[in-house]
């Protein structure tokens, strides 16, 4: 039995996409339920996803300290991360990007056009590219572009949540296969993206779904473990380091405790 590295990685289970229920009457209560359920299913870290479509101006983060405190209290054992997803359909939004981004742990982009996909993959300072799984993609995902993104440290996200509602399943499976093909199985993060409690699945079942869709089982296991963690650490480095190179303390993505890392390059 291998010790150290493997054991640590086996114990990490990330769900990087739990949509923030901004439409719900009591968003905090609804999010709490999702967190408790995910904890019960065996996840150790969860990212709450705040989705912004359209203009960024005047948008503020719903994750205030009070809200985060309240959420953390219901699931003490789970690391809660703040994630922002920008739905990009034109290039003009990029100006006000930097100011809001600093309030989040993870930044993702959902490109709607070929052009925004191009800039997300090659230029923008982001952690995740999230492709809308509920509809046919308006662009063809090229292998060269996807690999450029992955080698730059940007990961692709596959959400399984939409595969559990009858009509969405076909597109979800087809998009998942497209992403697996384009990236050749590298740099894939699996998350739920589920809008209702019944659409969350346990880590083991989620890994199996990804395997059935054609990813190697080792890469599928990493998709909620190591690769997801890398995306989270990437985000932490953006928020808390100088030029992503020097950092005084970095919080462990799992426990939130600061670990003594003085230099990350």
């Amino acid at each position: 039995m291998q010790l150290g590295k493997n054991n640590l990685y086996l114990s990490m289970r990330y769900d990087l996409n739990v949509p923030w229920p901004s439409q719900a009457a009591q968003p905090v209560k609804t999010a709490q339920k999702a967190l408790v359920l995910l904890h019960e299913l065996g996840y150790t870290a969860v990212a709450l996803n705040f989705i912004v479509a359209g203009k960024l101006k005047g948008v503020s983060s719903p994750f205030t300290d009070d809200v985060m405190h309240e959420l953390q209290r219901s699931v003490p054992g789970v690391r809660i991360l703040k994630r922002l997803t920008l739905v990009l359909d034109e290039q003009t939004q990029n100006q006000s990007f930097a100011s809001i981004v600093s309030q989040f742990d993870i930044v993702a982009v959902q490109p709607q056009t070929e052009k925004t996909l191009q800039s997300a993959a090659t230029a923008l300072d982001i952690d995740l590219i999230s492709i809308d799984m509920t509809a046919r993609t308006p662009f063809y995902l090229r292998h060269k572009l996807a690999c450029a993104a992955v080698s730059r440290g940007v990961r692709f996200e596959i959400c399984y949540g939409s595969s559990l509602d009858g009509e969405g399943r076909r597109y979800t499976v087809s998009n998942a296969i497209a992403i697996i093909r384009a990236t050749r199985g590298r740099g894939i993060v699996l998350s739920s993206g589920a809008h209702q409690l019944a659409n969350f699945r346990s880590p083991f079942d989620a890994i199996n779904l990804l395997t059935v869709w054609g990813l190697k089982s080792s890469a599928a296991r990493d998709a909620i473990g190591v690769t997801a963690r890398q995306a989270a650490v990437n985000g932490l480095l953006r928020a808390k380091s100088a030029k992503q190179a020097v950092i005084a303390t970095v919080e462990d993505a799992e426990s939130g405790r600061p670990t003594k890392v003085l230099r990350v390059a």
Partner: protein
């Protein structure tokens, strides 16, 4: 002669609609109406048919069998041939409803012998009893 190779899937049914934040363990396993063996077995078979079609059901039909199901703990063991267990597991993941109640089917363990899955079920139940006991103790003031 070659033995028929099988996998035993230890599954749990969770009911997210009855989730109560104060007692997540118990509430997730409580149902509004009774769910018994027949309903679970039928739902699983239907799910395989829906997800992988006639071909899929045909390939597992001879081996697919719910060996055990306990409505008290919402835990059971499903037998399936080794080649196709991943397809069956995926089909079970696609289930969202049994008997008009929203459900999450969670596979807790895949094993090659029924004895090992039985041991896993017992270990899991023991762990839950501990959690529930600790929970109750803190609610009624012993801690």
């Amino acid at each position: 002669m070659v033995r028929l190779k099988t996998r035993y899937l230890l599954f749990e049914l969770l009911f997210p609609d009855s989730l109560d934040l104060a007692h997540p363990h118990e509430s997730l396993r409580q149902t509004k109406s009774k769910i018994e063996y027949r309903k679970v077995a039928d739902a699983f078979k239907q799910a395989v048919l829906e997800h992988s079609g006639e071909q899929g059901l045909g390939s597992v039909q001879s081996s697919l069998l719910v060996k055990y199901f306990s409505p008290a703990t919402m835990t059971g063991v499903l037998r399936v041939s080794r080649e196709y267990y991943r397809i069956v597991q995926a089909s079970l993941s696609y289930i969202t409803e049994i008997d008009n109640q929203r459900v999450i089917v969670k596979i807790a363990k895949v094993s090659g012998t029924i004895k090992k899955s039985q041991q896993a079920a017992i270990a899991k139940d023991k762990a839950y009893i501990d959690i529930i006991a600790a929970d109750t103790a803190s609610t009624i003031g012993y801690n």
